[in-house]
Amino acid sequence: MPYEHIKEVKDQARITPIEIFPDPKTAIVILDQHSGKPLSPLVAVGDSVAVGQKIADSKERISSPVHSPISGQVVNIGNIYNHCLETFTNAIFIETDCKRTKDKSLTPICEAELEKTKPADLLNIIHEAGIIGLGGAGFPTHIKLSPPAEFPIKNLVVNATEGEPYDTADERLLVEKTENILRGVNVIKRILGNPAVTIATKVSKVEAIPKLQEVFGNEPDIKIVAGHFKYQQGDASVLQKALFGYEPSPEKRSYESGCIVQNVATINAIADAVFAGEPLISRVVAFNGEIAQPKNLLVKIGTPISDIFSQNNIDMNDVRQVVVGGVMMGHAIPTTEAPITKRSSSIIPFSENNCKKEQKQTVCIHCSKCISACPVKLHPILIYNAIMAANMEKAEKLWNKDCIGCGTCTYVCPSRLPLASTIMASRY
């Protein structure tokens, strides 16, 4: 099935090396950045915190703690816009003391010890480091990497396709942190019992492919697949079809097909946690869009997005829209006071002329393009019609819950109907 081509805008960003962004004066760490159970703060206003200190956690299994990205004092615990949940949620505000005192509660292991370390201990480090799926889903990684014993994992897929048309953070990691990614892959192999590894990337990532071949080429059981993957094939199940030919059932858990797909940035974070003892307190964010100089920034989680604009001397009068997390699946945020979270893979500003305006709803012309374009073979317009007629029973019969939210249907719709967002909203 041909997938809809979506034009990429990354020529400049993909060749720009990662730049370390200065620490924020005030870090705003949102508690609920993962998908799972909510966290409660472990610190109170007035407490001093160190870099990497765990500041919020939950006793529930499906959760992931957050850590302080800077050292300083907790000045407030209050609400801030959380782009992951599209609403205002609780966050811890920390003011820097410029000392960068480090918290050492996470004990790293050295590479030689990896084969002797128990998978459970590795999983514990991943949990304690607060690692979640950095591709955008935000599911706690330690849960994903602990499938039940009756489902042996035969394949590990390193998802380096990064199809979002403006995102380049993963691509830069592939180029600059290749060895670290290999270390991360070895950790996951140890946890999952040596599955075969497939690194899936795109032929368009010309700088990354030779680097991958150089570092991974001599490893046994590691295959590099550089394909002409389309945006939609960045989805874990659609990618499995491209690589192995089968279609994983949406009803089953991902591990039931014997395959686990991990994002490059997540694997990089795992290596940092296990071998350097660094919890997830920073990530690479692509700063692309309508700006003179696109960049890839290593930003502390909790940095207000407005800092990124002011440090890059961008006049906010020219910016009318700020999209976080990719133009296809990410949301446009209402305020730049919102901080960077673990799931902020990119910051994409648009000017008045190019921002997506509220479009007048027109009627469907029955072209049925959304049906042929859907990568998971749904009938978006029929589901949309059912939802609009408040017939949820019919929407469910048309498998509305199988929607992966890739946004292709809305993208191709000549009547500009909000198909994807309506279907995604109906899933809950």
Binding site: P248, M316, V319, K356, H379, W399, S415
Partner: protein
């Protein structure tokens, strides 16, 4: 609360649902492409038809005894262009007035213009070459100035009732607006003229003194020479002494019938380019399955009634109504099914019905009626072919 660098924001940021970018194809763009495609057909046909005067001088003389008032001997190409201007003008103007008057209606100029061109291109023009001193009445509609009035009525009627009211009242369009309007407007005409006994008597004889056109029976063995001569007489240049060959008439140039199908080759080329440009936005599955089933049905009809298979095939596939409707009317997105299977069944049904209507009703241009019948099946066909999603 925080001492972060607060940037002054004169306007609020625009919040919108993902995806934040949209594809390049829009309703207007689809309509623009279709309009240009239909314009090319109109202009090329007009140029091709400029050499023909209708009625021809000899036809005018043969009508001398009949009431010939109203016949204007002018280039057929000019009649077509005037028709196009009238149809597009009436459609766009009506659309504008309705758009201004009704609150919930949007002005959709390009869509109205495309509709006007389709009305023009599916309105039969030109007197068949062998038409001599037959009753003038049915032939008047094929020429100026009567055709101007009919086209204006069809365009107005179709836009108001079948394009605007149908969508507004029923929630969706069921009938193809151009086909429905043409059919309804010409229905009384059809009953009073084409279906009367006298008409059949006259048309079914080859005796010229009775005014017979020698209309052949399709529900019988097709004689290559007889039927071929009939088609050549009907469609070739009315002024020329030696009619063009059957293949040339059916494939290259017809001087009578639907202007949209005057040149089958032209329609196929323009249609193919449009399909290439619009790809999945064009319901080419309907076109493909329609022509496929017409071909199969005409072979079956030859199997039943005998005769020359090639002549029947040429007729069923390349008659103006068939070739134009298959590409530009049957693929109207609003009145065709959503699902792939539905579109293929729709096309097959349309092809089968077309051949049956043309064979047993001797209603040349039966595709139009077949399309209207098939339009009613669309809500049912939308329920067929709902494929299972990924991984289920």
């Amino acid at each position: 609360m925080t001492n972060q660098s607060s940037v002054e924001k004169p306007k609020d940021l625009v919040v919108s649902q993902p995806p934040q970018i949209t594809g390049t194809m829009s309703k207007t763009r689809i309509m623009n492409y279709t309009f240009v495609a239909l314009m090319i057909i109109t202009i090329v046909t007009a140029a091709m038809w400029w050499q023909v005067t209708t009625p021809t001088q000899s036809q005018m003389e043969s009508f001398a005894t009949a009431e010939i008032t109203g016949f204007y001997a002018m280039p057929l190409g000019a009649i077509l262009l005037i028709n196009a201007l009238i149809a597009v003008g009436v459609a766009v103007l009506s659309d504008f007035i309705i758009g201004k008057a009704a609150v919930d209606s949007e002005i959709n100029t390009m869509s109205a213009a495309v509709f006007g061109l389709i009305v023009t291109l599916c309105y039969s023009l030109g007197l068949p070459g062998m038409a001599r001193s037959v009753e003038v009445m049915p032939l008047q509609a094929l020429s100026a100035p009567m055709c101007f009035i009919y086209v204006a009525i069809i365009s107005f009627f179709g836009l108001v009732f079948f394009k605007k009211l149908q969508g507004g009242l029923l929630g969706r369009k069921y009938l193809n607006p151009a086909a429905a309007a043409k059919f309804i407007v010409l229905l009384p005409f059809l009953f009073s003229v084409f279906l009367t006994k006298e008409h059949w008597a006259a048309y079914n004889t080859t005796d010229a003194s009775l005014g017979g056109l020698g209309m052949p029976q399709l529900a019988s063995a097709i004689d290559k020479n007889m039927f071929g001569m009939y088609l050549q007489g009907c469609y070739s240049h009315p002024g020329s002494a030696n009619p063009a060959s059957l293949e040339s008439v059916m494939l290259l140039t017809k001087f009578h019938g639907w202007p949209g199908g005057a040149s089958s080759i032209l329609v196929i080329i323009v249609g193919a380019v449009l399909i290439f440009l619009l790809r999945d936005y064009f319901k080419w599955k309907v076109t493909a399955s329609y022509f496929g089933s017409v071909a199969v049905m005409s072979v079956i009809m030859t199997g039943i009634y005998g005769g020359d298979p090639m002549t029947r095939l040429l007729f069923e596939l390349f008659i103006g109504s068939s070739i134009f409707l298959g590409f530009f009317m049957a693929t109207d997105p609003a009145t065709t099914p959503y699902t792939k299977t539905g579109q293929i069944i729709f096309g097959i049904g349309l092809g089968v019905l077309t051949v049956i209507i043309q064979t047993y009703m001797n209603f040349f241009g039966g595709a139009l009626l077949a399309l209207l019948i098939m339009n009613f099946t669309v809500p049912l066909l939308d329920r067929i072919g709902i494929h299972k999603p990924f991984g289920r």
